[in-house]
Symmetry: C2
Subunit: 209 residues, 2 copies
DNA sequence: ATAGAAATGTGACAATAGTCACCGTGCAAC
DNA sequence: GTTGCACGGTGACTATTGTCACATTTCTAT
């Protein structure tokens, strides 16, 4: 399949042509770090397949998952960092093996003025990510850990398009900036409430979660 | 003083001219709600004097302060909402009496393609607000309430350019989505530690806060 | 000056979340 | 098989935050 095929209903033909000329397809394996906090942003990724996980790390190394970047999406924060040559404030990891197009800074900037569909894509992406951050803030400020855990499981399920989540309790605790024992207990309670089923390294979400 | 005077080192002359022609100066009194969650965004404000407070409200009415918009700044989230005719996700309140320029949607959109300094301003604003949201997330995810309170006091002090904060404990608790008694106790502890001085409806920040 | 309202102080207790210690289970490599 | 290890379960304890009840202080309006 042509690489730009999946974008043909989003962008105008001339822009697609530029895609062909200027964009480098790249790939990364599950777990690979695409971009780390403090590193300068050299290219902007548009995901073709797989998923990127965007997270925030504090100075003691604790992590908090922010959101996922799915196919045909991009990460808003790289746009703005990139265009002004600022270091990244977030970490991007390949959640599953991922293929993406790398957009050079120069093109990004030029296209904003030239192609309305590109400008619109950028603005749409920025809006979407703002809303994701606001949802994170809502969760942290207003919800207890059990509600946050449910939200986390649902988002993970969406990102992987599966009701099976292949993670240890420890990994979940890390992505939520909590601790393993607490998460284990809350998961147990969800299982007792018939909302999920627990296996080793795997959680099955039931329909009434 | 000419209204566009304070922008003359940021924007090119032709854009300033458009400012004169198309922008309506507006004002609001302390406490006025400029924009509420769910309401559609009709204009984008650029603050001339005073301060806007941007906050998030949950479904039970609890509030969380996100950041302030100071003179010569704007609110990134209105940009993206505005350009796509989406309802606002945040509430904007006049923190102090405020004057601002209202930018119509049409102009906003057109200028992005036409004036590099405007595009740059928009991108800079978006980046700044992303970072503010990330700081909020850091606070909520990684810091205890006492640290958050210190951060809150410092930000408030910056926003008002004063080491005197004229707020009741109750108001602070509200903006932090916490409760009055807890905030009172933590403030008391800060006073004992010689970090602040407490008065009725007023807090004086000391230099070693 | 005094009453009433708003703001603050405080003790006691509950709920939530984090930590420590230790155990058992199941999986994988040999 | 059995050994070793990652994973998960659990009790006991601590820390943090929230809640309730009520006392005290300070300001304001009359």
């Amino acid at each position: 399949m042509n690489i730009t095929e999946q974008f043909k209903h989003i962008f105008e033909p001339e822009l697609l042509k530029e895609f062909e000329e200027k964009l480098k397809p790249m790939s990364a394996k599950e777990g690979d770090i695409i971009l780390d906090i403090g590193r300068s942003v050299r290219v902007i990724p548009i995901v073709l397949s797989g998923t990127l996980k965007i997270s925030r790390i504090d100075d003691e190394g604790r992590e908090l998952l922010l959101y996922y970047v799915s196919p045909v999406e991009s990460c808003a924060m790289t746009f703005t960092c990139c265009m002004q040559q600022f270091p990244s404030e977030v970490k991007a990891t390949a959640e599953k093996d991922v293929e993406f197009l790398a957009i050079p800074i120069s093109a990004m900037d030029e296209w904003m003025m030239k192609y309305p569909t590109w400008k619109s894509f950028v603005m749409k992406t920025i809006r979407a990510r703002f809303n994701e951050l606001l949802k994170s803030i809502d969760q942290l400020a207003f919800q207890k850990l059990d509600e946050r855990l449910i939200y986390y499981l649902k988002e993970k399920s969406k990102a992987t398009s599966s009701s099976l989540i292949n993670l240890s309790h420890e990994q979940i605790a890390n992505e939520m900036a909590s601790s393993r024992e607490v998460i284990s207990r809350l998961l147990k309670r969800l299982e007792n409430d018939k909302k999920i089923l627990l296996y080793r390294n795997q959680i099955k979400l039931l329909k009434d979660l």
